[in-house]
């Protein structure tokens, strides 16, 4: 097991190097001059030159790349061109926010998606199935920004139950933190719930046809036990993989949701960084989320092993 994890981590290194080359080259292909954006409206030539010198924009791209790599290997992600804060600090500030939002969204997605998927599989072809499918499809089809604004107008403006937007750390004020996270978590969670529901449904349908389900029923096992213990446990594998991947995607930030609820996470940071051509920040975040995604992938595989006795014996 450990050697498997170690092997996977080693394979991750070339992947990350590839990612670094891609993000660097793609950024350089973007039209627009960061110095022009950063110099301010007046575009004072002296300031332009200062910025180009300071951030090595005059150097050849290859040189810039190796300079960045060298610094990164020493743990220095560079300085944000826009705010002049170290990129590592920015990431350290935003990552917990993004993780918190991702967890919130996943919890809501599980709470809705899995029961709905099981119900619709068990009651396939009945009204329950259609209603669950309808809700799932709505969750997928309703745009996040629209749902977000509607929730704010209803819950915050009309009812006054929750703050309209903003963020509070769970360490300073857990209650307020939860309050600010409920709506964005719900908006993100409903979309994921739809995906989860569809996958749970199809996995359950596949399993429900299996011989051992018929056997269990023939033995007189209670229907609920058949569904939960026999069917769902076996249907769980693809759901686990999917969840880990969905979580990995969430770590890249949820741009629209963050924007609407004014949550200071990765999404907003990276969009601002791209628009202002804040190379160091874009690079830092992309590397960080790529690493996060690889990690989540690995966790999914490990969970696979733990949940599936057949795979365990193959090690």
């Amino acid at each position: 097991m450990l050697s498997y994890i170690a092997r996977r981590l080693v394979i991750a290194v070339p992947t990350l190097i590839l990612v670094s080359v891609f993000v660097f080259v793609l950024q350089k292909l973007l039209p627009g001059d960061p110095a022009l954006v950063l110099a301010g409206e007046e575009r004072d030539p002296e300031v332009l030159e200062f910025i180009r010198e300071k951030y090595r924009l005059n150097d050849p791209v290859i040189y810039q790349y190796f300079h960045w790599m060298k610094a990164m290997l020493q743990g220095d992600l560079g300085i944000s061109l826009r705010t002049q804060q170290p990129v590592a600090t920015l990431i350290a500030d935003k990552l917990p926010v993004t993780i918190q939002l991702a967890i919130m969204a996943m919890v809501i997605a599980f709470a809705i998606g899995i029961p709905a998927g099981i119900l619709s599989a068990v009651h396939k072809g009945t009204a329950v199935d259609y209603i669950a499918n309808f809700i799932a499809l709505s969750g997928l089809s309703i745009p996040n920004f629209w749902l977000g604004i509607m929730l704010i107008l209803l819950v915050s403006v009309q009812l006054g139950w929750l703050p309209a937007s903003g963020y509070e750390s769970p360490f300073t004020d857990p209650v307020k933190s939860l309050q600010t996270m409920i709506m964005p978590g719900f908006v993100l969670g409903t979309a994921l719930a739809a995906t989860l529901m569809r996958h749970t449904r199809s996995a359950m349908l596949g399993v429900m046809k299996a011989d051992y389900i018929r056997t269990a029923r023939a033995k007189g096992v209670l229907e609920n036990a058949v569904i939960i213990k026999h069917a769902f446990r076996n249907a769980l594998l693809p759901i686990v993989t999917l969840s880990a991947l969905l979580f990995g995607e969430l770590l890249a930030g949820a741009v629209l949701t963050e924007q609407i609820f004014t949550i200071p996470g990765f999404g907003k940071l990276i969009v601002d960084a791209v628009f202002t051509r804040d190379y160091a920040v874009v690079q830092g975040i992309v590397m960080c989320t790529a690493a996060g995604f690889i990690l989540m992938n690995l966790i999914a595989d490990v969970l696979y092993f733990l949940l599936n006795p057949r795979m365990r014996s193959s090690l």
Partner: protein
């Protein structure tokens, strides 16, 4: 258990909303500020934060007159090369450092010499600063500069604690120390900037808030929702489409001021090869284009009438506006005639525009209007950084851009219209205009300056290197509890005498 939890949650939610402290002001901003160092920053919202954090040497009235702030009085030498300023007594910075002539000298030198300074061009005319008394400075200029006082009414005039600046160097923005009504408490990127009342403020009697929190909320709908739900007490840049709804809401207040800036279409006249085309070469085509537009209708259709139609770098409400050239009425026949005179029945022109919904919609209205006079306008929608790069490199025929505006008229015209102007992307060059605009910046006589600008307008109105369209209006929405807010054309939020009723 779950029910109890939910009940507890809702309860705490409601109590939290209702217990907001009476003297904590929360302001919703459209963007997050950049680095909080007056010498290094460049964003508009940054200036809004400074207005509460950092006092300036001078301030402006809503009518753009320069009035004392940290400088109580000033006088010019006869040759306009020496500005003597008397400074306010008994002012201290937030860290206890006294404000005096030495501090002013250190600040101006920092603006000039800090490698990261973005203020260099604004204080370029200053040759040296002499401490002529404990509370008096003599500022020596290389050449007369009528714009200097207006620069001191903005970031170049903001005084930071010399002790703190010396210690922090270029990292000053992480913990800014000034002498304004509020001092810096904390900042969370893209989330909040918190200031608290500075008890030692020289004008503390006019300040009625214990803390001020600035919250960047980029989405205009959400910003307004936050105001309606009571999560914030005021917001800047209300969307024009929401004006009617805010004005109709008895629980909300409303304030507006026509800004100092403008939006227009910059035409490439001599910026590289692309400037060498009929639209850049023949002023009649540009005049025809301008005449084909109904500026008032643009304002009504796109901005619900909230903005100000314009045809000059200064809004019609400005004392610098040349009344001899009023906003032209639409005249399609005359436009067609001019087009014909230039040798065209129809003319193709490509205009680049920033890819945001409002500017795009505005240009579509322009496109439809110009079409009736025979212009086939092709809109090239671009992301702003690319648009800026193309425009500065001369890789464009016409470009829809704007300018945020400056207190002194020079800032709205000189750098755009003079041959060597730093942001003259049109590369319009006319020695006559150069001479007039140069002369206007050296005189300290208002009437003399106005005459020069008017003379330049006579020429520019024909040449039209920039076809001005409108002047945005700053629009604030306020909680009904707030009173005493005065709108200023610079878009700043001045909190003196503002309070909860």
């Amino acid at each position: 258990m779950r029910k109890e939890f939910l009940a507890a949650l809702l309860l705490s939610a409601t109590t939290l909303v209702s217990t907001a402290h009476a003297a904590d002001l929360r302001i919703g901003l459209q963007d997050d500020a950049d680095v909080l160092d007056p010498d290094q920053s460049r964003t508009f919202v940054g200036r809004i934060v400074y207005t509460s954090l950092c006092d300036k040497l001078v301030d402006i009235t809503p009518d753009l007159e320069i009035i004392p702030q940290l400088a109580t009085g000033w006088s010019w030498s006869d040759d306009g090369r020496v500005l003597t300023m008397d400074l306010r007594e008994g002012v201290t910075f937030h860290d206890g450092t006294p404000f005096n002539a030495e501090a002013v000298k250190a600040n101006i030198e920092r603006s000039k010499n800090l490698p990261e300074s973005r203020r260099k061009s604004e204080v370029k005319s200053i040759e040296s600063v002499e401490v002529s008394g404990p509370l008096q400075v003599r500022i020596n200029l290389a050449a007369p500069d009528a714009t200097l006082l207006a620069q001191f009414a903005d970031r170049a005039g903001m005084m930071v604690s010399p002790a703190a600046a010396e210690a922090a160097g270029a990292d000053f923005g992480a913990n800014p120390v000034c002498s304004g009504p509020f001092k810096f408490v904390e900042r969370v990127q893209q989330d909040r900037i918190v200031l608290s009342k500075f008890d030692g403020y020289w004008n503390a009697g006019a300040i009625h808030f214990d803390t001020v929190t600035f919250l960047p909320i980029p989405d205009t709908t959400v910003r307004l929702a936050n105001l309606r739900s009571g999560d914030i007490d005021m917001l800047e840049r209300l969307a024009a489409t929401d004006v009617a709804s805010v004005k109709g809401d008895a629980n909300l207040g409303y304030a507006e001021a026509v800004s100092l800036g403008y939006q227009g279409i910059t035409v490439n006249i001599g910026n590289g090869e692309k400037g060498d085309n009929p639209f850049g070469n023949d002023a009649r085509l540009r005049q025809a284009f301008s005449l084909s537009l109904d500026r008032d209708a643009i304002n009504q259709v796109v901005f619900e009438g909230a903005f100000a139609p314009g045809n000059q770098p200064f809004p019609p409400t400005s004392p610098w506006y040349d009344k001899d050239h009023p906003v032209p009425a639409r005249d399609v026949e005359k436009a067609k005639a001019l087009l014909k005179e230039a040798g065209y029945d129809s003319f193709d022109v490509e205009v680049q525009v920033a890819n945001n919904p409002v500017q795009t919609q505005m240009m579509q209205v322009v496109q439809a209007m110009a079409a009736e006079a025979g212009f086939n306008v092709k809109l090239k929608s671009m992301e702003f950084a690319s648009l800026l790069a193309d425009q500065s490199a001369g890789n464009y025929q016409a470009s829809q851009v704007g300018w945020s505006g400056r207190v002194d008229p020079d800032g709205n015209i000189h750098q755009f219209m003079t041959c060597k102007g730093g942001i003259n992307d049109s590369k319009y060059c006319n020695p006559e205009v150069d001479a007039l605009l140069d002369a206007a910046r050296t005189s300290n006589e208002l009437a003399t300056r106005k005459a020069k600008y008017d003379e330049a307008r006579d020429i520019l109105n024909n040449d039209l290197p920039i076809i001005y369209l409108y002047h945005p209006t700053w629009i604030w929405a306020l909680s009904g509890k707030l009173e005493g807010f005065t709108p200023y054309p610079d878009g700043m939020i001045r909190l003196e005498n503002v309070k909860f009723n």
